[in-house]
Symmetry: C2
Subunit: 348 residues, 2 copies
């Protein structure tokens, strides 16, 4: 009988970080596409846009004015999903109706005063300032007694719900540990208790041995396509040594993180020669005042594009009701990304 091959046969892969599975259908890339095509991102933007509410000196929706900031700039979201001043409260009616009030807050970080830049087009020294701001915010927000989780993330591109192309990200802090990091916490704890090492320490070491799914490597960080990747060109930046949260990174490690962030996103932009949309976010230890030796800092990148700058992967019916699904394999995606030039296509 024929041998089972990743490149030929449908299979499920296990995600040890969440305990979930992904369905991989490698033969399905041959499917023609007659569905929705996206507008490609507008490429040429001015350095300053007087109508942009994130540009230096401009007025924001809430009526506040941005300072004439020179590198990074953080402010409280004018339309925060989470706010600090709400009454505590619980609602419960048997086992089936349960709710709890949730305190927190939402901040916006501008990555650069320049309206026309994005992370892959910025200098590593400037991205380093973004990393430093993340560290400060994690520390400061996390120190509040009603904040147990700090979520740093970036939505890039209008197909990822980003309403402004000015380079920026967000930070939401809140009382509860949300669903996704809570799942990863359980899996990482079980692994650590069993092996005395973090799950991702062992995982990264294994990946570095084969090299098959590695995209970028520097002294302290690796960017790779996880074995269990769900989105077509999903990637993860992981520290080589176990670090529970970003404030524990040394100066040199912070710069290495900025470097990996830039190199990965340059690959992304070069794939379809377009400003590549994605949502990215950092998973790290909760800010509950406890030690978390089981937690291993990492940053997920979930980019939606599949075949071109205009055709994305839809996570819809089957995926929503049953199981995440992908067409090309993680190894094929890694190969395609790795084969790209390392210089940004606009700088050629």
């Amino acid at each position: 009988m024929e041998q089972f091959e990743f490149t030929e046969h449908s299979h499920r892969r296990y995600n040890p970080l969440t305990g979930d599975w992904v369905l991989v259908s490698p033969h399905r890339t041959k499917r023609p596409w007659q569905g929705k095509v996206e507008k490609p991102a507008i490429e040429k933007r001015p350095e300053y846009d007087e109508k942009c509410y994130l540009c230096p000196g401009n007025e924001r929706a809430g009526g506040h004015n941005n300072p004439e900031y020179k590198d990074v700039f953080v402010f409280q979201n004018d339309f925060s999903a989470l706010v600090p001043d709400i009454p505590e409260g619980n609602y419960s009616n048997g086992e089936l109706f349960k709710a709890e009030s949730e305190r927190g807050f939402c901040k916006v970080i501008c990555f650069s005063p320049r309206h026309d830049l994005t992370i892959p087009e910025m200098e590593v020294t400037d991205i380093r300032k973004v990393v430093d701001l993340w560290c400060n915010e994690y520390q400061e927000i996390g120190a509040l007694d009603y904040i147990n989780h700090v979520q740093i993330f970036e939505n890039k591109g209008d197909i990822m719900g980003c309403s402004n192309p000015h380079p920026h990200g967000q930070i939401w802090g809140q009382y509860s540990v949300p669903v996704e990091p809570a799942k990863e916490a359980v899996m990482q704890k079980a692994y650590f208790d069993k092996h005395g090492k973090t799950l991702l320490e062992d995982y990264v070491a294994e990946e570095l041995m084969t090299g098959e799914r590695i995209l970028v490597e520097n002294d302290h960080f690796v960017a790779l396509v996880p074995f269990w990747a769900t989105w077509p060109f999903e990637a993860m930046i992981v520290s080589k040594c176990a670090v529970a949260n970003i404030t524990q990174l040394t100066e040199e490690e912070r710069t290495a993180l900025a470097d990996a962030y830039k190199k990965l996103t340059v690959m992304y932009d070069n794939l379809f020669e377009v400003s590549f949309p994605y949502s990215a976010g950092i998973h790290q230890a909760p800010t509950d005042g406890q030690e978390h030796p089981e937690w291993h800092l990492h940053m997920h990148f979930y980019p939606p594009l599949l075949r071109s700058a205009t055709v994305k992967k839809f996570m819809v019916g089957y995926e929503m009701m049953a199981n995440a699904q992908r067409d090309i394999t993680a190894e094929q995606a890694a190969q395609r990304l790795r084969d790209l030039p390392t210089v940004h296509y606009k700088a050629k």
Copy 2:
């Protein structure tokens, strides 16, 4: 101190079917929207389209010809993500790298020969034929020894990845029980073992008492906005009595399901007077040959629109990395849907 109110204060709600939580931010609807707007669906379509690969008599991508079908029509997907003839196999390298080959198959169901119709515009007697086909397929596919789960679903609208507006749905059968129904199985089993009744039996009874989140009720089915709804206008059709799978429905109950399906989707279309996009899918007992008294048949509807026919809810950065999030409350969404006319806007 002020009292905690669902309509005013951010809170988390518990989903007893999955064990997950959703973050609700009721005050956030005031946020202005400067981001992506979708093209509204094209409303006027011909009854027959010679370029449509689902219309009767036409040729499909795979080179096959559709028969001159008169009501419903089912065929094997020409680009199936799952196929029956693959070698069995496992791959495992320690705890962190695990994969298994996955057999199955994918079918497409045309709901009607008419290219211009959708479920809310069809007669209940014709929707009933769709329900009957679901029953036959669940029975037939489920009887295969290598099929343990049958996923019936529908992607409607191009923003839900649907590449053809001809009314149709899909059925994927496979060896493993996928992630989503597996989560619901665990929760339903625990509830049934404890109470000797299904989770949804108790839930529906409670919802019928308050009526707050009920959208449609007939003799055998209820359509409601679940207390833990994630998508802005998410809904669920549930049988009033516990039924593990659709083949156990009586004749009368099948018609009642068709009726609820129509009434709910008419509400949806009337909300923004547009053909309302969604992904829908049926969760029911696995086809593993066991009795499943804990399973309670239901159909989820996940519609992406938020504010209008052109502005959707983006489940992106925070939602992907941390936690599902919504703005309007489940009760507000139910109220808005319930207040709509019951006649389809095109038939006015």
